[in-house]
């Protein structure tokens, strides 16, 4: 009985984390999937969201800035705003860059942001990070607080999914894919390409900020290492590419699938002897990378391919369930 209860708790934890990664992946999908913006700095926006929410919701502390003790909801909203504001600044400068350059610039930016988090002890408590971040529903009895958190994450993913599906079908989303496919044509059709790309970048970053805030509240602790390119940016990219770029369902499925594999293999590696455990952890990254290469070469569309919208929906090609 105790074992089943343990498995139940683990499943809840697994799904909650998967849901949080789904939020991050949906954010990247707006930037990369919809609009074709290569953001290699997912970790940066994740960290902005996580730190903003953590600083606003923790109890007063002399170790770091903030400590206002606000409710978690306010922290999450602020996380989205902060992430969007920084994304606006970044986009104003970098959005015109060609895809590779944008990737280099965003990677560099995330790295600098990590340096700030690590070095500015007075504001962020440096490498020791921020602990005792309040978790929503903490006061509920043991399994229910976890379940409630899962339901909250679930609800957020569902709302985001609904909104993004609508946005993708709306004229806004169509212009975005037009920009991705043929920028010159979109420009010739009179679209303000730069402005629209900035919009997509900001929107995606705000969603990533929300994901960061959720993570901070869920784990109750945050440090600069969580903004490492491996743990955040790489995983989220793998999730999106494997699930299927430009497909919101693909983004969610990819996140849950990759996270499940990532997390369950961790159980195996931690049971190994200490010297092997560390090596196995790195081997795990290698194997996930290999899976990414396989998908890129064999199934470049991912599990769920992008659904091409037509101006007039032909009755035969629309299979059941393509409309949610």
């Amino acid at each position: 009985m105790e074992q089943i209860y343990g498995i139940f708790l683990y499943t809840v934890f697994l799904l909650t984390m998967g849901g949080i990664y789904a939020v991050l992946t949906l954010g990247l999908n707006i930037q990369w999937g919809f609009t074709g913006l290569f953001n290699a700095g997912v970790a940066g926006f994740f960290a902005i969201g996580a730190y903003t929410s953590a600083m606003l919701t923790t109890a007063a502390s002399h170790r770091h800035l903030g400590g206002l003790g606000l409710p978690a909801g306010a922290g999450m909203a602020a996380a989205m705003v902060a992430s969007a504001l920084i994304a606006w600044g970044v986009a104003r400068i970098c959005i015109r860059l060609r895809s590779d350059y944008l990737a280099i610039a965003t990677l560099g930016l995330a790295e600098i942001f990590r340096l700030v988090l690590k070095n500015e002890n007075w504001a962020t408590n440096g490498a020791r990070g921020i602990s005792l971040i309040p978790k929503p529903f903490e006061h509920l009895p043991e399994p229910w607080n976890q379940v409630a958190m899962l339901l909250l994450v679930f609800a957020i993913v569902l709302v985001l999914y609904g909104l993004l599906e609508r946005a993708q079908r709306a004229p806004w989303g169509r212009v975005m894919s037009a920009i991705r496919e043929n920028e010159a044509a979109a420009r010739a059709a009179g679209k303000d390409v730069e402005r629209l790309r900035i919009e997509a970048f900001i929107l995606g970053a705000a969603v990533m900020g929300l994901g960061g805030a959720l993570m901070a509240h869920h784990i109750k602790f945050i440090d600069p290492n969580m903004a490492e390119p491996v743990s955040a940016t790489f995983l989220v990219w793998v999730m999106l590419v494997i699930g299927g770029s430009a497909n919101n369902r693909g983004a969610i499925l990819g996140a849950v699938l990759v996270w499940t594999i990532w997390s369950t293999t961790e159980i195996i590696t931690t049971r190994l002897p200490a010297e092997w455990a560390l090596k196995a952890a790195y081997l795990r990254i290698f194997l996930v990378g290999l899976a990414l290469q396989f998908i890129l070469q064999r199934y470049p569309g991912g599990i769920f391919r992008e659904r091409r919208l037509r101006t007039v929906a032909p009755p035969s090609s629309q299979k059941g369930g393509s409309h949610p």
């Binding site: 990677l107 560099g108 560390l278 990254i285 990414l292």
Partner: protein, 295 residues
């Protein structure tokens, strides 16, 4: 004299290391047309291969330079064959994602094989030569600068006076035209990887010889090396050399106490200097100082 000893000379040494790395980036960018994120890990690999050879044979690390360069080039050729070549016709950005994945794959491979502990080629502290009672020069710095210069001269001879080098330049200028004139593009691509990987390995070995071997050393060099390539203009090997020197020197000078007695920039932020230069270049002069290509 503190300025020369602790900022200018280390800056020039670091700059020549960056220059070697940047040549590879700019050649790959010019000929294969994508930013190779795995280039930093190529440098790490070169350093670790040398470490193994040093531990096995116990000779001076720089004696293994040619062997380690060749081994690294072989590894990268294999990487190209398995991962990049099937994507040759895919959109550029797919190659960038692939190289981003490879960056982490190679790093984790190094971590699995060699572990994550900080290691170094030789134990003990070398004393500097002292000139005029105040100018201090470390022998290793002289060796690194001389070896880097020799390698750069080699690149110059290769690009100017050999058929392969001329084909590489032609393909960098216009791949279609190069193909029409009967240049074997796959051969040129192989040559590019060999040169780029060899120089990257050398850069990694020099940095390791100057400081130590660690698994993140290549990633830390990636941004300065990209910045150097952009500063020099993409596809311009000479520009990359100059860009590398500039980035290295500016990085070291940024921590000098120009005003008062505090460093101008806290040393923790040194990595930000290259990035700032790069973004400024991308915005105001994307063709680089030497009129490179803008893709």
């Amino acid at each position: 004299m503190e300025f020369v000893n602790f900022h200018l000379i280390p800056g020039l040494v670091l700059g020549s290391i960056y220059a070697l790395g940047a040549i590879g980036v700019t050649l790959t960018f010019g000929i294969l047309r994508f930013a190779n994120f795995a280039h930093g890990e190529t440098m790490t690999l070169g350093a670790y291969l040398t470490l193994t050879l040093v531990l096995l044979a116990g000779w001076h690390p720089l004696l293994f330079l040619p062997v380690a360069m060749a081994l690294t080039a072989l590894f990268v050729l294999g990487m190209d064959r398995v991962f990049f070549r099937p994507l040759r016709r895919a959109p550029t950005i797919i190659l960038v994602i692939s190289s981003f994945g490879l960056m982490l794959m190679v790093r984790s491979l190094v971590q699995v094989v060699w572990g994550v502990k900080l290691q170094s080629f030789s134990k003990g502290i070398a004393l500097p030569w002292v000139f005029f009672d105040s100018l201090r020069v470390f022998p290793k710095h002289v060796v690194i600068a001389a070896a880097a210069l020799a390698l750069m001269l080699g690149v110059h001879v290769l690009l100017r006076h050999t058929r392969t080098g001329k084909a590489m330049r032609a393909m960098s200028d216009s791949p279609e035209l190069a193909r029409l004139t009967g240049i074997d593009t796959e051969r040129v691509i192989r040559a590019t990887w060999i040169v780029g990987a060899g120089l990257a390995a050398a850069a990694g070995i020099f940095l390791a010889y100057d400081t130590h071997v660690e698994t993140l050393m290549g990633f830390k060099m990636l941004l300065p090396v990209f910045a150097a390539a952009l500063l020099g203009g993409i596809g311009r090997p000479y520009g990359a050399m100059a860009g590398g020197l500039v980035i290295g020197v500016v990085e070291e000078l940024s921590t000098y106490a120009w005003i008062g007695s505090e460093p101008l920039l806290p040393p923790g932020y040194k990595a930000g200097v290259a990035f700032a230069i790069m973004v400024a270049m991308l915005i105001w002069r994307p063709s680089g100082l030497f009129r490179g290509r803008v893709f």
